[in-house]
Symmetry: C2
Subunit: 208 residues, 2 copies
């Protein structure tokens, strides 16, 4: 599978190699987690000398932080695009919960969990984590406020509700990361929880 003996790396432009390394870091992170994003790990992914990775990155903390940010921002963009197709805030929220809790993004969940832990040693990462969490909160808050404006939702603090819904999602996904056995039915009852926070009648969120 792997090539234990690497002969030579094709010479590429700095810009090209730079994005190649960033992409490789993302690939390594999604495959083996943020902890595997090391000088040697990324270098092996690109099939290049470890020193080259160090040459293109100021330090590994920065690469890890940027890798986290890239992966998470991409996820937000994807989910945002997906959800935008729905008409009402209610159906958008329902689709958001469904797609984030169906287990199809467990690799990104691992990234989140590791980032929370790693953020205590990597200040650049911690800052990035806070920024991305805020982007997610803003995104969800907009949906909720639209629902308030249309009279579908009822709450006096959309920001706080958005914050808590995201916490619930991440917590459920993190749990599923470890004990995969009960992971099948996550997302079924969270609808009721969100309905409770938004003053909706029971089961409304699941209706088409």
């Amino acid at each position: 599978m792997s090539r234990p003996a690497r002969k030579k790396a094709a010479r590429k432009s700095a810009a090209e190699r730079s994005v190649e390394i960033a992409d490789a870091a993302c690939a390594v992170a999604l495959e083996h987690g943020l902890y595997a994003v090391t000088l040697r790990g990324v270098a092996a992914q690109v099939d290049v000398a470890p020193a080259l990775v160090a040459h293109y990155e100021p330090n590994m903390d920065a690469l890890v932080a940027n890798t986290f940010g890239t992966i998470v921002a991409r996820e937000l963009a994807e989910v945002g695009e997906l959800v935008a197709e729905r008409e009402s805030p209610r159906t958008r929220l329902a689709l958001l919960l469904e797609t984030l809790l169906d287990g199809s993004r467990d690799d990104v969940t691992l990234i989140w969990v590791e980032a929370w832990a790693l953020g205590r040693r990597n200040e650049a990462l911690a800052e990035r984590v806070r920024a991305e969490m805020d982007d997610w909160r803003t995104f969800l808050q907009a949906i909720i406020e639209a629902g308030i404006a249309s009279g579908e939702f009822e709450t006096d603090d959309a920001a706080s509700v958005a914050w808590q819904v995201l916490g619930m999602i991440d917590g459920l996904n993190a749990h599923a990361l470890v004990s995969w056995e009960d992971s099948g039915d996550r997302g079924t009852r969270i609808g009721h929880a969100v309905e409770g926070m938004l003053g909706l009648h029971r089961g409304v969120l699941a209706e088409p």
Copy 2:
């Protein structure tokens, strides 16, 4: 603060030293996280040679797993004792949410988050994590089932609700671990979420 030069360690019985090392591992974990539970880290805490820690533990994976288990089981015992004072399942549940979300146990939250991440490399830890999560679920499930029996709660799957409530709690706490700014109001609206899952009227959970 620290003693850079250690002269000699008082000779103690094997049993005594063994618990001393286990306690030190817990102290290190609560102070600096599970990642700081290393041969040298624990040895420094006990003020003893690193080799002695290795002498008393089969390997570090086991010590980390046991340290996690000890801390989390102790937390469950404490919370269980606290909550048992309340009369009804509803007030027990309300107190449970309050005490787990008031930020007084952030050190344990860090342990949980790190355990989820570390569990992918440490199989003994992963097993312990699943066991402790199951203990928590069983504990909360008993409260919910008592509420169903008394007619206060309404749900057709207490185990699943217990699972999801714990997920919500852990997720909110994990978020607070990173962006402490908004951590003040966590726990205020989660009541509404739980009310939604248990068929309660809005605000009932917060009533005395």
